[in-house]
Symmetry: C2
Subunit: 220 residues, 2 copies
DNA sequence: TCGCGATATTATCGATCGATAATAGCGTAG
DNA sequence: CTACGCTATTATCGATCGATAATATCGCGA
């Protein structure tokens, strides 16, 4: 709510270019996630960032450019959250290790979906209808994830670790099952009275997904 | 595209009240599903139904009333698709039968999600933010499904048939995993080159969900 | 401290939104 | 065949949309 004063003690009445851009990006993610590209208004985005509507066109080129920048930012955060996860093992020797890595990836993805529900909200908004935004987002960001998960899944299938689901279907089963409680957090609270962002929910959710998707995983 | 002439052979230039209302409802489902309540425009809804925009306010009270009527219609179709499924068995004697019934329910739900992706699209659009629409839809239609699935799941858990997931989480894992390929059908086509509405996809998808959610089910 | 470039703020444009009044025309009852 | 009720169509309202021009103000360099 209140801005932190800069560390040197001078009272700053204008935010730096970096700060205002970041504030607009994060506000845009929330609004685009909640209402989709068409439904979100630049005035609401600006207001949430404590800025004025024309500042969006000043700091970004247009509403569309803001959307693109926001999605760039968001997939950057996802890449950060997945950093160090190597699904393509250099050798086929230890497939069990790939299984552990995949399980780790599931847990990280569930945590990310809980912390940043905007990602899957936006993907659901865009994924329903063909558009330039969907094509760009799919080719730029989703395809690599899809391919990486698919090839790892294929090897886990052959090793008998993975549940009997083909890799195309697995991707949507995984993403859908991992993200829906956080995408629809408002509904979860109405329906269950529980908070899906609670650590206990997230941990149980991730454990459940690992259990059903990787039944052949060695525990311990 | 072209309307069928009525069976008596007279050329009808006006559709009956029933026909135009139904056309508007089905058009509304597609538009609300694709863009959400705010993003969908009454002009686009009317045009898709080969009608004029003011006819929406004539045949329904308002955009909000149209949305409500469309959701009523859609949950009616879901209830039809689930007709005869009794998850609450009168006796605990044969829990295996409950498992088979649950599996049947999963298959029917996957088929319905494929045939009517608008349902889950609308639920995802509304489920992100608290609103009167969400409260009404949840209390009126979702809660009974949620409760029925939850109590059945509890008994399947105790019988060792169900995967180790608590019933609150199970609901979202099931719905998310069952619906995402059809909610995001456009993305599926871009990403996989396959058509998720194809019977082969639907069958494999449903079989996969049954396998991972009910590992203790007797096959055959 | 002064001046200028960068950013903020206000005002406003044309387009589109949902809604409604006014008019036109179809179709059946009598 | 006429007349009237129901539905379709057109026109238009105030509100809001994204975008931009015009103006005001901040804050750093000289």
């Amino acid at each position: 709510m209140a801005r932190n004063p800069p560390p040197n003690g001078t009272v700053r009445t204008r935010r730096s270019r970096t700060d205002i851009r970041r504030a607009l990006l994060e506000s845009a993610l929330i609004e685009f996630g909640a209402k989709g590209f068409d439904g979100a208004s630049t005035r609401a985005i600006a207001q949430r960032a404590h800025a004025h509507q024309p500042q969006i066109n000043y700091h970004f080129e247009s509403k569309a450019a803001l959307w693109t920048a926001a999605v760039d930012h968001l997939f950057g955060l996802l890449a950060e959250a997945m950093h160090g996860l190597v699904l393509r093992q250099p050798t086929d020797a230890d497939v069990a290790q790939l299984g552990q890595t995949f399980a780790d990836g599931i847990r990280r993805f569930v945590s990310f979906a809980a912390e940043h529900p905007e990602l899957n909200q936006i993907m659901v908004h865009e994924g329903t209808t063909a558009s330039d935004r969907l094509t760009w987002m799919t080719r730029t960001y989703v395809q690599p994830f899809f391919n990486g998960i698919g090839s790892a899944w294929q090897r886990l299938l052959e090793a008998g670790i993975a549940a009997p689901i083909d890799s195309d279907t697995l991707y949507y089963v995984l993403v859908g099952a991992a993200s829906l409680p956080y995408v629809n957090a408002s509904e979860v609270r109405l329906l269950t009275g529980r908070d899906p962002s609670a650590p206990a929910w997230i941990a149980a959710h991730a454990d459940g997904l690992v259990a059903i998707l990787l039944p052949g995983l060695e525990t311990g």
